[in-house]
Subunit: 221 residues, 2 copies
């Protein structure tokens, strides 16, 4: 089973959820940063912990089973709100917002702070890999060729400093159910990390793919 | 500048910090999961947001400048507490704890929940890349050959389901300042993702490396 969940939401309900969960999740991202960087005294830390535990208990009074998953509407739009890179409801996600172009290209400007650190002051090399995996997949999806990652190769040209960054990805080659995508992460001085990946249309989605149902490119990302 | 910060802590102060920040950060990880999965009503979400913002404001009354970085003691132990994979103080980190073996091998058993999702019910392919980058670096460090990632290649054998997982990494080849490491992530049925990476001793650390100062293998991870 692919696990994608059909859930039609009226436009006003979708807007209500975005307006509710977007700022709520962002408040937890701010807390994540403060948790990592605070230097307040022990008593204050313990008090914060007790209050956080109380909030968590109230939020857990009612929860969905398992993970958020990816939900889609009859018009073909999707809500990957649990996604670790772009998820509106996922505090682990920075989150990135991608501009997607139908020729098979995706770009995003974003900021990475202290929670994404590897070496001191630098973005974790694996975080760059995480973001590039998503970016290459977005480019494939934008071009009507969504798929699961089959292989990914990263080349680290120079260190990536935390702060304002940009990633770009594009389809480089098309071959049946396989798509090759390339991309970069970089700063104002150019690319710091380059990536190439192979994305494969999963078996359960090939009928849909064969029917060239490209008006729903997001369906199986 | 490499940015590694020398900070000697007496054993009892180190224990105090671990006992304070470990559970505190874990409480925020639980909140992250609850934030993503809650289905409580709108009023309760707004109340949670207000309380979280109040806690964040109090924690921000005093913060370190920039990120946590990596701090080391005179005995060679390090505290990568801000690290996105293993950081004790980083709520984004699952966190993984590695067993390190001096022949150049590192292993970790860990659990990934809803915050690390990509496709529905599955670990984000980029999260596997993130964890494998760290694991390969840990293997290099364990073998006295720490370095920065120069290149990383991932091969996805089959989907990785969320839940209990294991990663293993080992040094495969040694060549001057370069180390080749390999590793896998997998479940009870075996490997789901394989990785190979090249790790390079940074220029500023080569004097230390040449002196075979291998009793401080963690110093420049």
């Amino acid at each position: 089973m692919h696990g994608y969940q059909h859930e039609d939401l009226p436009a006003d309900e979708l807007a209500r959820q975005e307006d509710l969960y977007g700022p709520f999740t962002q408040s937890v991202r701010e807390l994540v940063d403060a948790t990592l960087r605070t230097t307040v005294d022990e008593e204050e830390v313990r008090r914060a912990q007790a209050e956080i535990e109380a909030v968590t208990a109230r939020l857990r009074a009612s929860t969905m089973e398992g993970s958020y998953g990816v939900r889609y509407s009859s018009d073909g739009t999707t809500r990957p709100w649990g996604n670790a890179v772009v998820g509106l409801r996922n505090p682990v996600a920075p989150p990135l917002a991608f501009d997607r172009h139908p020729e098979g290209r995706a770009t995003s400007d974003f900021t990475l702070g202290a929670a994404y650190e590897g070496p001191p002051g630098l973005v974790h090399g694996g975080v760059s890999a995480l973001i590039l995996d998503q970016a290459l997949g977005e480019a494939c999806g934008a071009g009507g060729r969504p798929g699961m990652t089959g292989g990914l190769t990263l080349t680290y040209r120079r260190p990536t400093r935390m702060g304002r960054l940009r990633c770009e990805a594009w389809i480089a080659d098309r071959d049946g159910y396989k798509t090759v995508a390339r991309g970069t992460i970089g700063d104002a001085d150019g690319a710091t990390v380059e990536a190439e990946g192979i994305f494969i249309v999963p078996k359960w989605a090939r009928g849909l793919f064969d029917a060239r149902n490209t008006d729903r490119p997001d369906r199986f990302e």
